[in-house]
């Protein structure tokens, strides 16, 4: 029996560009280190094993330009290794310390094994550069790596400064080529933020497809005949795939989602908070502020403060069960849809990559089980990528999708509200000035060119949607505000230097060494 429907799994891997060479230790850099240990390396390990065992699979994953830039950065690679070595040291101590706690001792050993394995994958297999792994899986035809906005800027709120939208896309595509050795075929629009017409810019950059939240397709015009179960073409000829809510819900939902299972690992009981201060001090913030270490001994247990010890074997069985349940539900879904639509539906299931492993510890195992079950057991369901699907299904309806995002309430509110709306006047002003500079200095070299390139970098870094996002979530608001202000102020200073014709080279060199993203950036894209 041949398949009657497709599952298109998308993992959106992204972190904002956080790199502070001026500090020996910088708390927010830990986001990257934690994600490498808990998400990226486990995923890479799974893909490697699937390849080794010759299990055919198709996955789609965005690796955003800021994340790719950090993964490829020598300073951060070395700092990650330093971080991991400390983690290994802590796990070794934990194996000793828990000698009389059998319920934790095997967990300490598990963490020690995992961390040592992570080191081996990071250092020995990929020479500290995990981009090699993603490139390898893509070159093998298993993984479709999407690009994203250059700094994950939320495009709909740049609508009045189209040069910024163009730059977000073009810089990303150029960077992708330098990292993956070919042009990007697909893109994950930052926060799925789509404004009708932006697909023209994708088209100009050779990008063939992107992804939208459900209502972006459903509220498109004319009405989409197949709902979100088939892609549509925009008038530019670029295809748009819409998110399936049902499969999203099973993983994301606070009430019904798998990650809340009581046997899964509890995120919030970390030894960084639980253990005696002097003992844990070398492994937390240098100022003595307790933070997560990544070593956690409890399971969710239930809505109670009393937590039971984590049992990896039981959790693993749960992950297998949940993968089976997910596949079963997709099979029922495609079975029904195939009958109703009269064609093979494609179910698009996108998730934030960092959910897997970091938040949902068993997420990578779940994914591994799911891929294996579908590849080996399912007769109805086949894993696909947007590229493969479009190759087989050339005829699709032409519609104009609707303005949308996958954020809270589905539009722009999360990035445009009382906590963060002050940023846009500065972004827009800087963008217009960048346009002015690029139009005025079409061919620059030497110091002037360096200043122009740095100005473009500062603008892009300010535009990351992450800063507005953090201001709204209320987590590390002060840091996010500082980042916006610093990048805009650096931009304005560069603007003044350039227009006055006097550039402080020492200062420029310092800023270049800090905000070193996109070394080959072409600032001319900002010209009108």
């Amino acid at each position: 029996m041949k398949e009657i429907g497709y599952l298109l799994l998308v993992l959106h891997a992204h972190l904002p560009f956080v790199r502070h060479p001026e500090h020996e230790y910088f708390l927010e850099e830990d986001w990257l280190y934690e994600a490498i240990t808990e998400t990226y390396i486990p995923l890479i390990d799974i893909f490697d094993r699937l390849v080794d065992e010759k299990i055919d699979f198709r996955m789609t994953m965005s690796v955003t330009p800021p994340l790719a830039s950090m993964l490829g950065d020598a300073l951060l690679q070395d700092r990650y290794l330093r971080h991991l070595e400390k983690l290994i040291e802590l796990a070794e101590k934990e194996v000793d310390r828990t000698r009389w706690q059998p319920e934790f001792n095997h967990l300490a050993k598990m963490y020690l094994d995992n961390f040592r394995k992570a080191r081996s994958i990071f250092v020995d297999r990929y020479q500290k550069n995990l981009l090699r792994a993603f490139k390898k899986f893509q070159d093998l035809g298993k993984l479709d790596v999407l690009t994203c906005g250059a700094t994950h800027g939320f495009l709909p709120l740049m609508d009045t400064t189209k040069q910024s939208v163009r730059a977000q896309i073009k810089v990303a595509a150029d960077h992708y080529r330098s990292v993956f050795g070919r042009s990007p075929r697909g893109i994950w629009l930052p926060e799925c933020g789509y404004n009708p017409g932006d697909d023209e810019i994708l088209n100009q950059n050779g990008i063939r497809y992107f992804f939208l939240d459900t209502h972006g397709i459903l509220h498109g015009s004319p009405r989409p005949k197949y709902g979100v179960f088939a892609p549509v073409y925009c008038r530019s000829g670029v295809a748009a795939f819409g998110r399936d809510l049902e499969s999203s819900k099973q993983v994301w939902s606070a009430k019904e989602g798998y990650p809340g299972d009581f046997f899964y690992r509890e995120f919030y009981r970390d030894i960084g908070f639980d253990l005696e201060f002097d003992y844990i001090k070398p492994y937390i913030h240098p100022d003595g502020i307790r933070i997560n270490t990544g070593i956690k001994y409890y399971r969710i247990t239930g809505p109670t403060d009393h937590k039971e010890p984590y049992q990896p074997q039981v959790a693993r069985e749960k992950a297998a069960y949940h993968a089976g349940n997910f596949m079963f539900n997709r099979e029922r879904q495609v079975e029904y849809l195939h009958g109703r639509l009269g064609k093979k539906p494609v179910i698009v299931a996108p998730y934030d990559a960092e959910l897997f492993g970091h938040w949902w510890y068993e997420g990578p195992q779940w994914l591994d089980f799911l891929i294996r079950k579908i590849s080996c057991d399912s007769k109805m369901l086949k894993l696909t990528t947007a590229h493969d699907y479009l190759k087989e299904n050339k005829r699709n309806q032409v519609i104009t999708p609707s303005f949308s995002s996958w954020g809270w309430k589905g539009f722009s509110e999360y990035w445009l509200n009382g906590s963060n709306d002050w940023v846009y006047r500065h972004f827009h002003e800087a963008s217009q000035r960048m346009n002015e500079l690029a139009s005025r200095f079409k061919s620059a070299n030497g110091l002037l060119e360096r200043a122009l390139k740095q100005a473009a970098r500062e603008l892009l870094l300010a535009e990351s949607s992450d800063w507005a996002f953090i201001m709204k979530t209320g987590t590390v608001v002060e840091y996010a505000q500082r980042r916006v202000k610093d990048h805009i102020l650096r931009f304005m200073r560069l603007y003044d230097y350039i227009t006055n014709g006097t550039i402080d080279e020492g200062w420029l060199a310092d800023v270049e060494s800090k905000d070193n993203i996109f070394p080959d950036i072409d600032y001319r894209i900002y010209a009108s």
């Binding site: 009045t160 459900t214 209502h215 004319p222 606070a254 949902w360 539009f411 509110e413 505000q481």
Partner: protein, 380 residues
């Protein structure tokens, strides 16, 4: 500071007037209290104290915001006019004197922002319209010093009879010439707020906004005109492509939400809204803190009630010749270069024995020690 909460709304209004807070009746009581407190603080504050520069800054773990906002809303129940939510930046809201435009004009003559802070104005006159969702838009504006002076002059000339407004036009499918909008409405604004949320109210329409002054004779003085922006659709399109006509679009629509057959699009919308609210779209990295950023079931491990936990660890340490071989329960342990060692164990209740043995390098000499520990925790 006296407890403002104990004052009546009327007393608060009087206080607000003394403090020259404009249009205090616009605010709810708690908002008014905040305004008054801020005002009183500001009058005591020492000018020139500013946040340190970025470079000296430690990774931020404190919760203090650099930019605080006061927002207020006037409820217009029964009023057909769209209501609005003004928001202020503290920078802008600081001076609230009647001649505040003049004060601002004076400030803008020297617009240099404090170190590490962004400029308050870019010395240009413009208004920018952005769409938030199918029903709401947002505008921000900037007014140059010379324009502010003109505006101030006009307002003085028509003292008390001239008010700043936003005029919102529906310009869907129109090449707007200033007169041919489908319809328009006015909203009072506070010029110094510099931004405003507008309840435009209708999805899938294009809007344009003028910022200006309105005098008693209804003459409108334009200060700045915005770009055009379109609100998104909130329901399926009416346009149907014959060639791609769905047999039953309602069903496809409902299925796309995954809720089975038979839901109307209105029900679907409600369902999706609920789902989106409980779903965690785009959690980013959660960035060490949850809330909307992480799956909701992982409510941050904050304990509700009082609690008390006590644990015990056993620390064993000693020293021998640096080249000796030391074992604990038969397992070799690592000595520091100076021959010292430390062992640390979680100590549960009960009896524990820990045999330790040191053997000299030439294996001639062996010393033994056995640590016996009995531990009880008596909970009272």
């Amino acid at each position: 500071m006296k407890d403002l909460n104990s004052l009546s709304k009327k007393e608060l209004l009087d206080r607000a007037k003394q403090l020259k807070i404009r249009m205090p009746y616009l605010y709810r009581k708690n908002e008014l209290i905040k305004m008054i407190q801020k005002k009183e603080m500001a009058s005591q504050a020492v000018p020139g104290t500013k946040p340190q520069s970025a470079e000296d800054k430690k990774p931020s773990l404190r919760g203090k915001k650099l930019v605080e906002k006061v927002s207020s809303r006037r409820d217009t129940a029964g009023d057909t006019k769209p209501y609005y939510e003004p928001t202020y930046h503290t920078e802008a809201a600081k001076d609230e004197s009647p001649s505040r435009l003049a004060v601002i004009a004076a400030r803008r003559v020297a617009p240099s922002a404090p170190k590490g802070e962004l400029p308050l104005s870019y010395e240009q006159t413009k208004i920018v319209l952005m769409v938030r969702d199918p029903y709401w838009a947002f505008v921000y504006w900037d007014i140059s010093t010379s324009t502010i002076q003109k505006v101030t002059g006009l307002m003085r000339e028509h003292y008390g009879k001239m008010r700043p407004i936003l005029r919102v036009y529906d310009v869907t499918d129109i090449d707007f010439n200033g007169k041919n909008a489908h319809w328009n409405f006015d909203m009072d604004v506070i010029l110094d707020a510099k931004n405003w949320y507008i309840h435009v109210g209708i999805p899938n329409r294009s809007y344009l906004v003028d910022l200006g002054l309105l005098d008693a004779q209804n003459n409108f003085y334009l200060v700045a005109r915005s770009n055009v922006a379109k609100t998104p659709r909130d329901v399926p399109s009416d346009v149907i492509d014959e060639e791609w006509m769905a047999v039953d679009f309602e069903e496809i629509y409902a299925l796309s939400g995954g809720f089975g057959v038979g839901l109307s699009s209105a029900e679907f919308k409600e369902r999706k809204k609920q789902l989106l609210e409980q779903m965690v779209s785009s959690p980013g990295f959660g960035i060490t803190s949850p809330g909307v950023t992480s799956p909701g079931m992982w409510q941050k491990g904050k304990r509700k009630g009082f609690f008390f936990e006590v644990w015990t660890e056993l620390l064993v340490y000693g020293r021998t010749m640096p080249d000796a071989k030391v074992t604990v329960s038969g397992e070799k342990i690592q000595l520091r270069p100076d021959g010292t060692f430390s062992l640390r164990y979680f100590l549960p209740d009960g009896d524990k024995n820990l045999p330790i043995q040191a053997v000299s390098r030439d294996e001639d000499d062996t010393r033994k020690a056995e640590i016996r520990v009995k531990k009880d925790t008596i909970w009272g």
